[in-house]
Symmetry: C2
Subunit: 220 residues, 2 copies
């Protein structure tokens, strides 16, 4: 069977992690739930429900649905204010273009939602030809395996033939639960050892280094 | 000889790292030098001169003094807009208060400058009684050992009796060059293995965990 690549979006292909961290930090501080930046950073990319539960544990009480919704709304508002444009990470545009050119099976599977992710896809030059699975397509976000499994089904490949490419331990944990191999990228700000310990088969700096390493991964 | 603690400030005692990363990212993007968030993150806490040189390497050309100055000015402006208040990291205020109460020798050594650091010191409840060495007191910032050596001299202790407490590999590298032990804190967003690999004797989550662990470090 042909190998396939399934990419995370934020922090893997697009340089949005630090803006997300800071936007969450402000939204939570405004709601009088100040949380350390590093604790937010290490939870970026997990499902919103798990994130809200983690926040509740930090602040020591349950959040109401209204509170959760208001914090999410403010996060989105602050994020768009901080980062009106979307910047592809080094090598991401070129890598995706080469995968299309060489006919290497690949897709994107993100905890983000349309229409919020549309600007990122546009910046990456990703169009209708590419399989994109987003939060609205599945019941559970990462670290549940649903996004990756749905993407693999849509690509018509087997889990054992998929590499997940992600920057967060949530991507790597979801990949293990989906019985897929995974590749960690440093471009989301985790340390290499954190990614290896979470099961990454290889760690590269960014998509540019992954691009140069496709042969090491067995892509012909 | 009595053991002493020398603290870094940003990311170690005060929760400013992610605001600094994002402020640098915006200031550099405005100057048409877009740099990945994670590469900025991993350079926070090094001297401004080394930081500017690293930026120049990323963008592939030398920066003029005027460019460096303008980026630094914009960084400060954006940072103050993003984070008007200073939030101590968990346990920092209580740890410093206990060190004063128990008469444990300690000081702060930061690559930051007065008056920018004054709001942080105030938020921590640090007054005239505490030795604070800042960028203006030494010729070279971290990872040069000057800040820590100057602090140790002011405290009247020997390097061999000092623990440096920091969140960045630059603190730990400077500590080794100063012949001091060091303790890494995760509160600046590095992974534990990165800090251990850079020479940390112990890694704790934050000042609160360090506080609970003073006996493991030999403080009586």
């Amino acid at each position: 069977m042909a190998l396939a690549l399934i990419f995370d979006l934020d922090g893997t292909l697009i340089d949005t992690v630090y803006a997300h961290v800071f936007a969450w930090q402000r939204a939570l501080a405004e709601a009088e739930m100040p949380i350390d930046g590093w604790r937010i950073h290490r939870r970026i990319g997990m499902s919103g429900g798990l994130f809200a539960r983690a926040v509740a544990r930090e602040v020591g009480r349950e959040l109401t649905d209204a509170e959760t919704e208001e914090i999410q709304r403010r996060h989105g508002e602050i994020f768009r204010g901080l980062l009106p444009e979307r910047r592809p990470l080094p090598g991401a545009v070129e890598l995706l273009a080469e995968l299309r050119r060489r006919g290497i099976v690949h897709g994107i599977a993100t905890s983000g939602r349309r229409p919020e992710i549309d600007a990122s896809l546009e910046a990456l030059g990703v169009g209708e030809e590419t399989v994109v699975i987003e939060r609205g397509n599945v019941a559970r976000a990462k670290p549940a395996p649903d996004l990756f499994l749905k993407c693999q089904e849509a690509l018509g490949v087997q889990p054992v033939d998929c590499y997940v490419v992600g920057d967060a331990v949530w991507d790597l944990l979801a990949a293990r639960r989906a019985r897929m191999l995974s590749i960690g990228l440093l471009s989301g700000g985790y340390g290499a050892d954190e990614l290896l310990a979470a099961g990454a088969f290889r760690v590269y700096e960014d998509s540019a280094e992954l691009h140069r390493s496709l042969d090491e991964l067995g892509f012909e």
